[in-house]
């Protein structure tokens, strides 16, 4: 049985369903990310686990402890859940020193003074903060503040660490560095991580598993590799990595034509998907081929360093292609033929509501 369990969890704000029938199990020591656009319900889910929001339906357990249950009208307040949590805006207390910030949760637990000192020291050491222990956190950089927040969350040695977009207030280069520090701390202390982010590369780099969410509904829960290479639906495909979509038409089980002109496709979708479809592919998984594939015209060619980026017009639609900088390709204004190596098929998109 999983360590953290969410069973049929639902959360409504007024008429809006923020999280709908969520079932989720997170293992001990796992790093689990929740990914999605803003407003998808990922932060609300994290806040329900933390105890800042109650539930309209369902239950949340950790190990053999019940945290929240709508049916039993039971709700353990956040201060009794013994989690570590790190927030986006750091939330370190400017009126206390770095040391006092980290010692705060330990003092609340009425531990003996020697224990408090030892564990605060340990947390500060693990986060490289010993030199600034007596300073005000206000004097530290963004990265420094986030280390204080991490140390404070570590101090009680929690089983579960909740991270709410902890890196998105940091500079890009610092972000990558902190990613690895968080991973190292996890290895060292062995806690589970529940990580909320809207940055897919962050989720990919850190996680054992990723949950992709949209409008309160789970789209896919899988390893980073599977989410990328076997996306469960059109939304997951478009949310993870760069993506192209071409609308295509088909008569019965005949060959597919690109809608609005651009030729006939050499590949066919599985049978029974209807007459209007979307063909999805990644810009990196296209090559320039010979006649008999999709016809296009190069509108723009830009050199981006390692890759060359093409904007290509196919009939009335437009797609993006990326090739290595050494492979030969057409110039702007020339016609070309596209060889789509890994096609994905989805039903034609309904107009978005």
């Amino acid at each position: 049985m999983s360590y953290v369990r969410l069973v049929d969890v639902q959360k409504r704000f007024g008429q809006v369903v923020a999280v709908d029938r969520l079932n989720l199990g997170i293992e001990k020591g796992e790093c689990f990310s929740m990914l999605g656009p803003s407003g998808c319900g990922k932060t609300t889910t994290l806040r329900m686990i933390a105890g800042f929001e109650d539930l309209n339906e369902g239950e949340i357990h950790v190990g053999d402890r019940l945290l929240s249950s709508s049916r039993k009208r039971f709700y353990l307040p956040p201060e009794k859940r013994d989690f570590g949590m790190v927030f986006q805006a750091f939330a370190v207390w400017p009126h206390l020193t770095v040391y006092e910030n980290v010692a705060f949760p330990l003092r609340l637990r009425k531990l003996p003074t020697s224990d408090i000192e030892r564990r605060t020291h340990g947390a500060l050491e693990a986060t490289n903060l010993l030199d600034v222990a007596q300073k005000s956190p206000a004097s530290l950089s963004g990265g420094g503040k986030q280390r204080v927040a991490l140390a404070r969350a570590l101090a009680i040695n929690p089983d579960v660490m909740l991270l709410d977009e902890p890196l998105s207030s940091l500079d890009p280069h610092l972000r990558e560095e902190m990613r690895f520090e968080i991973k190292d701390l996890q290895r060292q202390f062995g806690f589970s991580i529940i990580y909320v982010t809207h940055d897919q590369s962050e989720a990919m780099a850190l996680s054992d598993r990723i949950l992709v969410m949209r409008l309160g509904v789970v789209q896919q829960i899988d390893t980073p590799l599977n989410v990328y290479s076997h996306p469960a639906n059109r939304f997951v495909f478009s949310f993870i990595g760069l993506s192209n979509f071409l609308d295509v038409e088909r008569d019965g089980d005949g060959p597919c034509r690109v809608a609005g002109g651009g030729g006939t496709l050499p590949v066919s979708p599985p049978a029974g998907m209807g007459s209007r479809l979307s063909l999805a592919f990644r810009p990196q998984e296209v090559g320039f081929g010979t006649k008999g594939t999709v016809d296009g015209e190069v509108q723009r060619k830009s050199f981006l360093g390692e890759v060359v980026d093409y904007q290509i017009k196919v009939g009335e639609q437009s797609v993006r292609v990326q090739t290595g900088r050494r492979s030969p390709g057409p110039e702007a204004g020339e016609t070309c033929h596209l060889d789509i190596r890994r096609p994905f098929w989805y039903p034609a998109e309904e107009p978005e509501g």
Binding site: F52, P94, L108, S169
Partner: protein, 566 residues
């Protein structure tokens, strides 16, 4: 070549503007204040004389007034800070019902002039004639009044009612802007709501609490109206009322002016000290606690206390806002003070009398409106010029201007009034004493600080590159000012205009020291009518003033709501 010529030209205009700005502030603000110090510390023969100053301070009357100012200001500050902080916490951090409405109501005392409030409380609680006192004495057959408003406690309570919004608004702002995750992270660390309030929330908003408290201290030390209405009856004087008393009674004798200037110097020094403390607190302890995105802050569930606290708040509002305001209008409708409020007794006669028949009150309304308009217009335009120099120009000597611009913040109204008397009653060949012009000059000096604050804030929003872009397009310095800067700071200028016009409508402290028989303002007329025993006429005029102020305030609120939306 042309570049250096242009540079030379703007340098010239800059110098002229700087000189003009300094000249205005020196004449209007610095000279009167300096004259006060000169009069206090130098005797007739031009010798520096600290001995006389000490003698003045040792006189029982002056010593008592100093002590009273401290007692009243301390009591008011402690009371207002407690109430203001508590109400702010209540409307931002709990699940009290109708919080929005409560918050709006708690801000109402801001617009009510406190001396009109004091007048209302006098009508309700004066020892013999006050309506509430009589009511209780009749019912319970008491010989003693229920509560004597002519006392330290009475004065402090009335000042608290009108001053606590200073702390309330500061603390509300801090609590609302505070990043909720600061409290949430304490909660997840294992702290309950009580611990969080004590160890996290209160310490984080402490700078705002203290800064509001010092503002109240400053205001109360120099406050004239409430003490004049409620204290003089029982011989309770504070510094401003004693200055007024001395100047008023002795018609400008050397001794009285001496006492006045010494007391005024004490006021200026303590005000400067309070402002220095406030800046220190704000610069040192002001934490960056403002959040980006986040959820609503946690609300303490009041549970069983929810309804009792709601009732308590409503009672507070009813007693401190509704009751005094109603009493002003009702007494204004009586033929004589003391009659019961029955339908037969109430009429609009007094209101008709003051608006159409009585020359004194008609003059007062005309004077206040025209003085307010002129002071607001003049101060708005000079303020925008001076702020421009302070905020935008890189010229030498603007440090002087910054200092002079800060000076009015620490000069209380009664000091300004005394200063303009010293400066403009013939000393420099100009005698405008007893005319309306001296009041205008004093208003300009008093409200310049408001204008500088509003205009500087607006100008700081106008980035230099906007002007540079205009210059790059070929605009001259003046064209850039006219077409780019002026339209952008117009909201700030309008704000300055109203910030000056409305308070000057109800001004009392300055006008009371400067008025002549034909140059009464609304405030002076209300005060003197009341002193002369014309209570009902005075109440009717106070009612008219309240209507003017509330109408003006709602126009501004609507205007501000519109501009911030668009």
């Amino acid at each position: 070549m042309s570049f250096s010529l242009k540079k030379g030209e703007t340098f010239g205009t800059a110098q002229i503007i700087l000189f003009l700005s300094i000249a205005i502030l020196v004449i209007v603000v610095a000279v009167p204040v300096l004259l006060i110090f000169a009069n206090a510390f130098w005797d007739n023969n031009g010798n520096f004389n600290l001995h006389d100053v000490m003698n003045v301070l040792r006189e029982p009357d002056t010593y008592q007034a100093l002590l009273n100012s401290v007692i009243i200001a301390s009591g008011t500050t402690i009371g207002s800070t407690t109430i203001g902080t508590f109400f702010a916490w209540l409307v931002t951090r709990t699940d009290l019902p109708c919080k929005k409405f409560m918050k709006a109501m708690f801000l109402v005392p801001f617009m009510l002039p406190s001396f009109i409030g004091a007048l209302a409380w006098k009508m309700l609680l004066s020892p013999r004639a006050g309506y509430i006192n009589r009511f209780f004495m009749d019912i319970f057959n008491l010989d003693e009044p229920f509560f004597n408003i002519y006392s330290y406690l009475g004065i402090v309570l009335v000042e608290i009612m009108y001053l606590f919004p200073f702390v309330f608004i500061q603390v509300c702002g801090a609590l609302e802007r505070m990043d909720p995750t600061l409290e949430e992270s304490a909660r997840i660390s294992g702290a309950g709501l009580g611990t969080i309030t004590r160890k996290i929330t209160i310490p984080l908003v402490l700078p705002s609490i203290l800064s509001g408290a010092l503002l109240i201290m400053l205001y109360s030390m120099a406050h004239f109206g409430t003490v004049a209405v409620l204290g003089i009856e029982n011989g309770i004087y504070n510094i401003p009322t004693l200055i007024y008393e001395r100047i008023h009674q002795s018609a400008g004798s050397f001794e009285s002016i001496r006492t006045g200037t010494v007391l005024a110097s004490v006021l200026v020094v303590s005000a400067a000290f309070i402002i220095w403390m406030q800046n220190k607190i704000l610069s040192k302890g002001h934490f960056q606690i403002i959040a980006g995105k986040s959820f609503r802050p946690m609300e303490l569930k009041l549970r069983g206390l929810r309804i009792p606290l709601l009732v308590a708040c409503c009672t507070y509002i009813a007693i401190t806002i509704v009751l005094p305001t109603a009493v002003i209008f009702l007494v204004g409708a009586l033929p004589t003070y003391g009659m019961p409020f029955t339908w037969e007794n109430l009429s609009l006669e007094n209101y008709k009398f003051i608006l159409f028949d009585n020359q004194l009150t008609k003059d007062a309304i005309f004077n206040s409106v025209s003085l307010g308009l002129s002071a607001a217009l003049i101060t708005m335009f000079t303020g925008v010029m001076i702020s421009y120099v302070i905020v935008k120009m890189k010229v030498r000597g603007k440090g002087v201007l910054e200092f002079l611009g800060m000076l009015p913040f620490s000069v209380p109204g009664s000091v300004i009034a005394l200063g303009v008397i010293l400066a403009w009653s013939g000393k420099f060949g100009i005698n405008i004493y007893n005319t309306v012009w001296i009041i205008l000059l004093a208003y300009i000096a008093r409200y310049m600080a408001f204008s500088l604050k509003a205009n500087s804030a607006a100008l700081e929003q106008v980035h230099d590159s906007l002007v540079e872009a205009a210059r790059a397009c070929g605009a001259t310095m003046w064209q850039a000012l006219k077409d780019i800067v002026l339209p952008l700071v117009r909201p700030g200028m309008l704000a300055a205009f109203f910030l000056i016009f409305l308070p000057s409508l109800r001004e009392l402290t300055v006008s009371i020291m400067l008025y002549a028989p034909t140059t009464r303002t609304i405030g002076v007329a209300i005060y003197t009518l009341n002193e002369d025993g014309e209570t009902v006429v005075s109440a009717a005029l106070a009612g008219v003033a309240l209507v003017l102020i509330i109408t003006g305030q709602s126009i501004i609120n609507r205007f501000i709501a519109r501009t911030t939306k668009g």
